[in-house]
C-alpha cells in the first residue's frame, strides 16, 4: 500500500547500512563498572509542534499513490451502481431477473423515508449491541485461552479435542440448540454471534503463539522474565499481529452468524429488518437492509484495523511492510 511506501522513504535515509558510527572512544579504566554507573547523557529536548509542520505533513499525506487508490475505489463502486442502475432501468432479464429489483433511486427514497425512523435506527442499534457483546466475549475468552493453548502442551492436549469437534459446526447450525439453551431470545442470538467470532480468534491466537520466534522467548528468560511477565511482555505482543488477523476474520464471521440468527429467530436487528421486508414484499427495504449490513460490517472491520494500526506501530517497518 501507499502508506508503507511513504513510511519507508521517510525512515530509511536515517539508517545507513554501511555507515556504522565510528568506534566508541577508548576509555581504558581498569575499574569494574556496572550499568547503573555509566555517565548519563542529557535528555533530549521535547519536540515542539509547529502549524506549518502539521500542514506540510497533511500535504505529504496526499501522494500520487493515494490519489490513484482513491480513484480506483470510486470507479469500482461506481461501476457496481451503474450495473445495478442499468439492470433495473431496462428490467434486464436473462436467467437472472431484475424485474422486481428496486432501482437505486427507490432505495434512496426508502432510506430518506425510513432512514431516520426510530424503527430502522433501533434495528441497527440492536444488531450492533449483539455484535458488541458476542464479539467482546469471544475476544475475552478466545485470546487468553489461545495464548495458553499455544504455550502449554498440557492445556492444548486438554482443550484441542473439544475445539476440533466444535469448530466444523457452523454458527447457524447452533440456532435451534441455542434457542433451547438460553432463557431468552436475546441471549441466544448473542451466543450465536459469539460462536461465530470465537473460533477464528482462538485459532489465530494459537497460531500467533506458535509462530513466535523461540529466540525471543529465550532472550526474555535470560533477561529475568518470570512466567507471567513473559506472557504479558513477550507472548502477547509477539502474537498480536495474528490475534488481530483473528479479530478481523472473527468480526466478519460474527456478522454472518448474527444476520442468519436474526433472520431465523430474531426480533429486531438488521437481519430481521431485511427478512421482514421480504415477507412484506417491500422490495426497496430489502436492498436497504442489505446495504446497511454491508456498511455496518465494513465499519466494524475498519475499526478493528484502525485499532490494530494504533496498537502495533512497529509493523509499519516490518520486512514486507503492512499487508
Amino acid at each position: 500500500m501507499g502508506s508503507t511506501a511513504t513510511a519507508k522513504i521517510v525512515a530509511l535515509p536515517m539508517v545507513d547500512k554501511h555507515a556504522d558510527p565510528e568506534p566508541v572512544a577508548v576509555k581504558a579504566s581498569a575499574a569494574q563498572m556496572s550499568a547503573s554507573e555509566i555517565p548519563v547523557p542529557e535528555p533530549e529536548p521535547i519536540p515542539t509542534v509547529s502549524l506549518t509542520k502539521v500542514f506540510l505533513g497533511l500535504l505529504g499525506y496526499v501522494t500520487r499513490e493515494r490519489i490513484i487508490t482513491a480513484l480506483l475505489a470510486c470507479i469500482s463502486i461506481g461501476a457496481l451502481f451503474l450495473f445495478w442502475y442499468l439492470g433495473t432501468k431496462y428490467k434486464f432479464e436473462f436467467y437472472i431477473r431484475f424485474k422486481n429489483v428496486p432501482t437505486p433511486y427507490e432505495v434512496y427514497q426508502q432510506l430518506t423515508q425510513v432512514g431516520l425512523s426510530n424503527k430502522y435506527l433501533f434495528n441497527i442499534a440492536m444488531s450492533v449491541r449483539r455484535i458488541l457483546f458476542g464479539f467482546m466475549i469471544a475476544t475475552i475468552i478466545g485470546v487468553p485461552l489461545g495464548l495458553a493453548i499455544g504455550k502449554y502442551e498440557r492445556v492444548r492436549d486438554f482443550f484441542m479435542p473439544v475445539v476440533e469437534i466444535m469448530r466444523p459446526i457452523p454458527a447457524i447450525a447452533w440456532v435451534p440448540m441455542s434457542i433451547m439453551l438460553w432463557p431468552n431470545n436475546e441471549a441466544s442470538i448473542v451466543f450465536i454471534t459469539f460462536i461465530g467470532a470465537f473460533f477464528p480468534i482462538l485459532l489465530n491466537t494459537i497460531h500467533g503463539v506458535h509462530s513466535l520466534d523461540g529466540v525471543l522467548v529465550r532472550a526474555a528468560r535470560c533477561l529475568g522474565a518470570s512466567e507471567i511477565r513473559l506472557f504479558m511482555n513477550v507472548i502477547l505482543p509477539g502474537s498480536l499481529p495474528h490475534i488481530f488477523t483473528g479479530l478481523a476474520v472473527g468480526m466478519g464471521v460474527a456478522w454472518v452468524s448474527l444476520i442468519a440468527a436474526e433472520m431465523i429467530s430474531g426480533q429486531f436487528g438488521v437481519g430481521y429488518f431485511t427478512w421482514e421486508a421480504y415477507s412484506l414484499v417491500d422490495y426497496p427495504a430489502i436492498v436497504l437492509g442489505m446495504i446497511t449490513i454491508g456498511v455496518l460490517g465494513l465499519a466494524c472491520s475498519g475499526i478493528i484495523r484502525m485499532v490494530g494500526v494504533l496498537l502495533m506501530p512497529w509493523l509499519a517497518f516490518a520486512p514486507g511492510g503492512r499487508r
Binding site: A11, M14, V15, D16, K17, H18, D20, P21, E22, P23, V24, A25, V26, K27, A28, S29, A30, A31, Q32, M33, S34, A35, S36, I38, P39, V40, P41, P43, D213, V215, L216, R218, A219, A220, R221, C222, L223, G224, A225, S226, R229, N233, V234, P237, G238, L240, M312, P313, W314, F317, A318, P319
Partner: protein, 292 residues
C-alpha cells in the same frame, strides 16, 4: 568451594564447566554433541570457544545460559550449579533477538523492567548504555529500522543492562559483513574494557577470537572435546593495527593448524585417514585455504 569472604567478593563471574557431556536423542538417532568438556572462565576474563560447525559450541553455551541440561557433568557459576536462565548471565544470540514491538530504548530497558526497576531509572540506564553503543539517536526507532550491526550492538547493551556477572555470546557477529564485523569487534572490546565482566564468546573466526580474547579454547569435531587452550599474550587495549603484528600472525597460524585437522575430520573422516595428497591436492605452507 572453600573461599573466604574476601575472595568471593572479587571472584564474581567465575564460570566452571566440569566433565560435561551432552547426548541428544536415544538409541538409533543418538547424537553425542559434547563429550567430556571441562573449561573455565576466570572473573573478568574474555574467553573464546572455537571449533568446527556442529561440534557442540552452541550446546555448551546453552547449558551455561541454563536452557539445556547436561547429560553428564555440571556447569557452575561462582560455585553454584546452573539450573535455569537468569539475569546474572547476559546472553547475545547469533540470530537477531530484539523484540520487534519495542523501541530500541524499551528493548534495552527490558531486563530492568523484569527486575522491577522504576521507569525513570530504567530510562537513564538505557540511555547511558545506548550512548555507549553509539546509538542514542536511535532510541525511539524500532529494531526493524536498523541495520544488522546496530541490532547486535543493541543486543549487547541490552544484555549488559541488568549488570550481569558474565556475558555469553554465540557467534554474535556471524551474520555481519567483514567491515561491520571488524568495527563491531572494536566496539565490543571497548565495552568489555569498561565493564570488565567475564565473557564466553563463541566464534568460528580465528582472527576474531585472537583479537578479542585472553584465552581461546579449541574444540574437536563432534563429539566436541577440548583440543587445546591457547593464551593470547597481546597487550590491551587492542587496536586494529595489532592484527598486522608478527605475534598476531603467529597465533593465527597456530590456530589454523589446530583447526584445519578438525574441520577436515568434521567434513569427511576418510579424508583425514587418506591424507589430502590422496585427492591430488597440494598442501602448501599456508594449508588448504580457508576451509574453516
Amino acid at each position: 568451594m572453600s573461599m573466604t569472604m574476601a575472595e568471593t567478593e572479587v571472584s564474581k563471574g567465575f564460570i566452571d564447566v566440569r566433565d560435561m557431556g551432552v547426548t541428544f536423542g536415544a538409541n538409533d538417532n543418538k547424537v553425542v554433541a559434547v563429550d567430556n568438556v571441562s573449561l573455565n572462565v576466570q572473573p573478568g576474563e574474555f574467553v573464546s570457544l572455537i571449533g568446527p560447525s556442529g561440534c557442540g559450541k552452541s550446546t555448551l553455551l546453552s547449558i551455561v545460559a541454563g536452557f539445556v541440561k547436561p547429560t553428564r557433568g555440571e556447569a557452575l557459576l561462582d560455585g553454584k550449579a546452573i539450573t535455569k536462565p537468569g539475569s546474572d548471565r547476559g546472553v547475545v544470540f547469533q540470530q537477531y533477538s530484539l523484540f520487534p514491538w519495542l523501541s530500541v530504548r524499551k528493548n534495552v530497558e527490558f531486563g530492568l523492567k523484569m527486575a522491577g526497576v522504576e521507569q525513570s531509572k530504567r530510562n537513564t540506564t538505557a540511555r547511558a548504555l545506548l550512548d555507549l553503543a553509539g546509538l542514542l539517536s536511535f532510541e525511539n526507532h524500532y529494531p526493524d529500522q536498523l541495520s544488522g550491526g546496530m541490532k547486535q550492538r543493541i543486543g549487547i547493551v541490552r544484555a549488559l543492562a541488568t549488570s550481569p556477572q558474565v556475558l555469553l555470546m554465540d557467534e554474535p557477529f556471524g551474520a555481519l559483513d567483514t567491515q561491520t564485523r571488524v568495527v563491531m569487534q572494536e566496539i565490543l572490546t571497548n565495552i568489555w574494557q569498561q565493564f570488565r565482566i567475564s565473557v564466553l564468546f563463541i566464534t568460528h573466526d580465528i582472527e576474531e577470537s585472537i583479537f578479542l580474547s585472553d584465552r581461546i579454547y579449541v574444540m574437536t569435531a563432534r563429539p566436541g572435546r577440548i583440543k587445546a587452550v591457547i593464551k593470547v599474550p597481546l597487550p590491551r587495549p587492542r587496536t586494529a593495527e595489532m592484527t598486522d603484528t608478527p605475534e598476531f600472525m603467529n597465533l593465527v597460524q597456530e590456530l589454523k593448524g589446530l583447526i584445519r585437522e578438525e574441520s577436515l575430520a568434521a567434513m569427511a573422516p576418510e579424508i583425514k585417514d587418506r591424507g589430502l595428497s590422496g585427492f591430488g591436492m597440494k598442501v602448501g605452507p599456508k594449508g588448504v585455504g580457508e576451509i574453516f
